[in-house]
């Protein structure tokens, strides 16, 4: 924490709220941290959109994205594949914009039409972080539109996935409509049944038949429309030879319906129409609660989300943009600074310095020489290079690993608790039903026998049981969500509770690259620090700004006689007749000197390498205490793609030295996990990045840690925000407690079933008793689960 007086001294950017380092960006009395923020303000001011700053203080996002990355949108085919709709004038497009974070964002995005007359309408969806833009494509091209968004700080993320398959809109609406119909029938049939509940007078008895028939009519939509899912699911599970919880439910529904039809048509009773309607209404609500996930994150990202949409192809000396899908073996491609290599390729031209942190986890960039094969997923960190594609995108090293794993998954499917229970539940229920049937036949009361048989199946209908899991787990889901752990679905929580082995990845998982200060390794006297400070103040590069921030306060400005910034390399300047070089290893240190090589910004003054502003990763907050707590109840492993330079530090943190593994390739990680699983372990993989993707999929629970939750997260069961890492232990404990809640609510619902069974086996189940018992048990379960979940959440301070 910065002391209070420092905060008062610091100036904050009017646009983004960052600390203002250089004071030379000022407009209308507002300070800005950089040219980007200033120009956004000017654009908004020019279009009279400064209301943007009224709804929130510092609502903006510092603009650091390069507009040129959208060059591929010039290609008509690619641009069209992104559109939702297009006619002669109008086109509609939906973008995923992760930077949407406050009400000002919505306000500005929905006022886009004031920035450009080609835009007719914008709609922002805050939770999904999407904007839907209607524009006239003859006035503004898609590329211009995207550039406009980027310019004001709302750069959309466009991935290959958007172009190859249109996102399917999940039809949760269907279920909502089914609930609406069930609710309609439930309410009306309750109303019709009231006279029956209060007892019919002799006069009203004339209408009993009418009420019965109307009630029966209300059950028809329930059976034909709302209840469909249960019938389908039961038939499916019988075919697969498994007994799921839907079978006793379906049995109950069918028996309720048939008995009601029989009673009403023969005039022997009032039937159970209201119970049937209510049962389905509650069951469907439970189903809806279970389905309701927090869809602001995508868990289904595969390799395509990481790769660019298009690449620059060099065809007979000409640069051409091609879609990634059109890329063929033998094509010559151009990869610029910070672009990802989309397919395995051979280096033809240029100095390649590839950052493979995505693929292998190794954080140091690797120099490649001409003719070497570079695997897909690497990121070029210096100037542009030319490559020849040797393998199609879909068969490259990383993507093939991914696809293999995809096929493997699904062999062993996870059995949820309620499915495990239902394996015993259904046979026992049928047993009781038949025993009472034969008992009453044996006694000699066949009428009572049938009545008891059906009543057992009705009462045994595990309605409350079916609701206990969804309500508990969805409450847990929302607690996790609040705390920065985002689960894919409710099943993932059950998986989490059963874990006994934890496997951690190193880079990006237990360590983080994002840090505030840059420690300097080497010696830098005060005068030379001032030189570095003065040089970096002239640069807008994010690293320069970080260096300026870390040196600020102790340094003075010195006059610079010569200054040149070389893109992708560094800065060359002359101060007091001394040459100052600041930049990458190859630029500053070169090949002649042996100097510690690691990620960071090197400094050379007057011909001598002074040291490096190290970008070494640091361990996440609370790692040591977390590992200590976890080691008492879990087996802990570490898999790192990195070399073992940190092994001494890590072995003091991790309890078992044998479980620390270094130099692990993505495939090794995958095999390590499946090896553990074969030994009967329930493994959770905690990783990040694409290099862990295979392992994340293979593990019983794949948990991705991400510093920027919206940006990069591979397909997994859960995504954890980096800041919540220290809570991990509590998350695990809470998930275990959630399972206890489910067991308890199961016991309670069983108690209700047993009480009902007492009446049912005697064959005297009155419609009124059924109508009371069923909703009562449901309400008990819902309130019990949600109350206890909240109680436990408070206990775990989540």
């Amino acid at each position: 924490m910065t002391p209070l007086k420092d905060i008062q001294k610091e100036q904050h950017c009017f646009h983004c709220g960052d600390v203002v380092v250089k004071a030379n960006y000022e407009v209308d009395g507002h300070d800005f941290c950089c040219l980007g923020c200033k120009s956004v303000y000017q654009v908004l001011n020019q279009h009279k959109l400064t209301h943007y700053y009224k709804y929130n203080t510092h609502p903006g996002i510092s603009v650091r994205k390069d507009k040129s990355q959208y060059f591929y949108l010039e290609d008509e085919g690619i641009a069209n594949s992104l559109l939702d709709y297009k006619d002669d004038h109008i086109a509609v497009v939906t973008f995923y914009v992760p930077t949407i974070h406050c009400s000002s964002c919505i306000w500005l995005l929905e006022k886009l039409h004031k920035l450009h007359r080609g835009i007719t309408n914008t709609r922002a969806d805050f939770l999904r972080k999407e904007v839907r833009i209607t524009f006239c494509h003859d006035i503004i091209k898609l590329k211009q539109l995207v550039e406009l968004l980027t310019e004001i700080g709302y750069a959309p993320i466009i991935t290959l996935k958007d172009t190859s398959s249109k996102r399917k809109k999940k039809d949760s609406n269907r279920l909502v409509r089914k609930i609406a119909v069930a609710g309609f029938c439930f309410g009306n049939s309750m109303m019709i049944s009231f006279p029956e509940y209060f007892g019919l007078g002799t006069f009203e008895r004339n209408y009993a038949q009418l009420f019965g028939v109307v009630n029966l009519l209300f059950t028809l939509p329930i059976m034909l429309y709302s209840g469909q899912d249960y019938f389908v699911s039961s038939i499916k599970s019988i075919r697969q030879g498994r007994l799921n919880l839907d079978i006793p439910l379906t049995l109950g529904i069918i028996v309720l319906f048939l008995r009601s039809v029989w009673e009403i048509l023969t005039g022997s009773g009032a039937g159970f129409s209201d119970t049937l309607c209510g049962l389905l209404f509650f069951l469907l609500i439970g189903r809806w609660v279970q389905q309701k996930t927090y869809h602001h994150l995508s868990f289904e990202r595969d390799y395509r989300s990481y790769f660019p949409v298009a690449v620059t192809k060099i065809d007979a000396g000409e640069e051409k943009t091609v879609a990634l899908s059109a890329l063929q073996v033998g094509d010559r491609i151009l990869i610029r600074n910070n672009e990802i290599i989309p397919a395995d390729a051979i280096l033809l031209k240029g100095a390649a310095c590839i950052d493979f942190s995505f693929v292998t986890g190794e954080s140091n960039p690797v120099d490649k020489i001409l003719g070497e094969i570079i695997y897909a997923g690497g990121k070029q960190t210096e100037q542009a290079i030319e490559l020849e594609v040797v393998k199609p995108v879909s068969q490259s090293y990383l993507t093939s690993l991914w696809n293999d794993q995809k096929n493997k998954k699904g062999q062993v499917s996870f059995q949820s608790f309620s499915n495990k229970i239902s394996r015993y539940f259904t046979p026992i229920l049928l047993l009781i039903a038949f025993i009472s049937l034969f008992f009453w036949f044996y006694i000699g009361e066949p009428g009572r026998a049938w009545s008891a048989f059906t009543a057992v199946l009705i009462i045994g209908c595990p309605c409350a049981l079916a609701l206990s899991s969804p309500f508990t787990l969805s409450a847990v889901l929302s607690v996790f969500d609040r705390n920065g752990l985002f689960m894919k679905d409710t099943l993932a929580i059950e998986k989490m509770a059963g874990i006994d082995t934890l496997v951690f990845d190193k880079t990006g998982t237990i360590s983080t690259l994002h840090q505030e200060e840059l420690p300097f390794k080497g010696s830098l006297p005060a005068t030379e620090a001032s030189m570095v400070f003065s040089v970096c103040r002239n640069s807008n590069h994010p690293l320069s700004r970080k260096i300026v921030q870390s040196l600020q306060g102790t340094c003075e400005m010195l006059p610079i006689s010569s200054y040149a910034e070389i893109p992708g390399k560094g800065i060359r300047a002359i101060i007091k007749n001394k040459e100052v070089l600041i930049g990458s290893y190859s630029f500053v240190v070169g090949t002649d000197e042996q100097f510690y090589k690691g990620p960071g910004t090197y400094v050379r003054i007057g011909g001598h390498v002074r040291g490096v502003f190290s970008m070494e990763q640091k361990w996440r907050d609370g790692l040591e205490s977390l590992i200590k707590v976890l080691s008492s109840s879990y087996e802990l492993h570490l898999l790192s793609g990195d070399v073992d330079r940190d092994s001494s530090v890590l072995s003091s943190i991790f309890p078992q030295r044998d479980y620390l593994n270094f130099n692990q390739l993505p495939a090794d990680k995958l095999h390590y996990i499946s090896g553990l699983q074969q030994n009967g372990k329930k493994v959770a993989m905690i990783g990040d990045g694409l290099n862990d993707a295979g392992a994340l999929k293979c593990a019983d629970l794949g948990l991705a840690v991400s510093d920027d939750v919206n940006n990069f997260s591979p397909a997994c069961d859960a995504i954890m925000s980096g800041t919540s890492f220290s809570k991990f232990c509590r998350f695990l404990g809470f998930s275990k407690k959630a399972m206890h809640i489910i067991y308890w609510s199961f016991a309670i619902s069983l108690l209700y079933n047993i009480v009902g069974m007492y009446f049912a086996t005697q064959g005297n189940l009155s419609p009124l008793l059924a109508a009371i018992l069923m909703p009562l048990s449901t309400i008990t379960i819902i309130s019990f689960t949600s109350l206890t979940t909240r109680l436990y959440a408070r206990k775990y301070t989540l």
Partner: protein, 65 residues
């Protein structure tokens, strides 16, 4: 007592009407985004910039030609 037939028919009809209205709203996408409208309603109408609104109106009519 034939009023009871009429009353039942009436109540069911009204309920059906609301069910239909719900279906319509649901199909219309009114339940797709239940969060943003709550923020949107708090924005003030910026009357000051009326001139620009008109400009945009002109653009639109040009497009329709």
């Amino acid at each position: 007592m034939s009023a009871i037939f009429f009353l039942i028919a009436c109540s069911v009809f009204i309920a059906l009407f609301f069910l239909g209205a719900f279906f319509w709203a649901n199909k219309n996408g009114q339940h797709d985004d239940t969060y943003t409208p709550a923020i949107r309603i708090l924005f003030e109408d910026d009357v000051i910039f009326d001139g620009q609104e008109n400009e945009k109106g002109v653009d639109e009519s040009e497009l329709n030609k």
